[in-house]
Amino acid sequence: MIGWDNYEEYMMMHADGELEPAEERELMEFVSAHPELKAELKAYSLTRLSPDETVVYTGKDSLLRTEPAKRVIAFPQWWRYAIAAGVALLLSLSFYKYREVNKIVDSIAVTNIPATITPKTVQPIMDTNTAVVPKEIQAPKSGVAIVTPQRKIAPVTDCKQHKVAPIAREEKQEHRVAAVKDTTTRAVQPIAPVEQPQVAVEKEQPIIRVDTTAAVAALPVPEAQDDGMPKKRSLIDRLPIDESNKNQLRKLFRVVKGTYNGVSKVKQELDTGEITVSVEDNKLRVSF
């Protein structure tokens, strides 16, 4: 509220341009109500200075700083860069395509089930319905199968029964793999050195190695027979030892057998009475 005690402050704020529009109106109304204050208000308004625009600073150039120039890269022989860029692009595309193809092959190898199972082969059957065996991880001939960890590694189901899996049994099951041995004449050969069970694995897992030699060697395999029917093998043949050791064992067995036969013959003659052996007076008497 403007009064006689503060009107001068309002006039100075008017000269400073600090009054709000409402305050400005209030001041004008107060001055209109008291015309004797108009001269004072005009005097305060005249105290407001205005800059002289003609006064300029003449040393601007000395104050200016050098601005960093824009970098210009010239390509006088642009075709060289174009060729280099093209080669780089070609290599990049080739590498990209190579990786894409590898991905496809991997996916096929993992997801595809062997289309056909050779009827002439017999393999130990892996016991899993969902397992798939990619070609890349089939067991090598050394008897080491490459499998993935944390997977359901199918056990060799027919090991306990000491049987050879029938071929037709698993052919219709889509996610089962039958390891089959090549026996066109149904003559089964020893498995250990050549036959490798395919181990069922799931997809996309790191590869580990599992030694299946021992398990395969423990498999009882019937020997071949001329009539195609399996015959009972000897005890030595069943032993999981090398053939040379088996031969040594056979020689030892023959020596033992010969000695046994000699002793049996003597015993038989003794039983028939042809030879009489008695002990008399601490002397051994043999009568023929």
């Binding site: 005097a43 105290t47 200075l49 040393g59």
Partner: protein, 158 residues
């Protein structure tokens, strides 16, 4: 602030800063030194000063340097403005105002110049000068009253 923005400040604010320095110091040569020093400080602190606040920074430096320059002198007689800054539109009023400015101290003069020349508000002037808003208002009103009284004297009535 980069060199480009700094140069833009030179082109835009050097004249206003020179006019302000001329009124504060009363000497064109001193005003030149103040302007040059102010921009030198701005260049040195260009990494800290935002381009939008460069003008206030320049006037802050110029105000302090003008005050320092005034205090170094035993006495400054604000008798006449620099010739290059004197271009009166109304010779009588301009002359009277120039004489009236000589009646007030250098700090009040700087406040009036910042208010009238550059149009700063009280709080902006307080930020530049380092005073409080109340101090700015009191000093300004005191200067206005001195100027008004000078104008309404019998011998200066216009």
């Amino acid at each position: 602030m980069d060199a480009k923005e700094y140069n833009a400040c030179v082109r835009e604010w050097a004249d206003a800063l020179f006019r302000f320095a001329c009124k504060c110091t009363g000497q064109a040569s001193d005003a030149h030194d103040v302007v040059q020093s102010s921009f030198e400080v701005l260049w040195q602190k260009k990494g800290e000063v935002d381009a939008m606040k460069a003008k206030a920074f320049l006037f802050q430096v110029a105000y302090r340097k003008s005050i320092d320059n005034y205090r170094k002198s035993v006495k400054i007689n604000y008798v006449a403005p620099p010739e290059e800054s004197y271009a009166p539109h109304n010779p009588d009023l301009k002359k009277i105002l120039e004489r009236a400015l000589a009646q007030i101290d250098e700090q009040a003069r700087a406040l009036v110049l910042l208010k009238d020349y550059e149009g700063y508000r009280y709080e902006e002037i307080a930020e530049i000068t380092g005073l409080t808003d109340t101090q700015v208002k009191v000093y300004l009103h005191r200067a206005r009253k001195i100027l008004k009284e000078y104008l309404v004297r019998v011998e200066n009535i216009i």
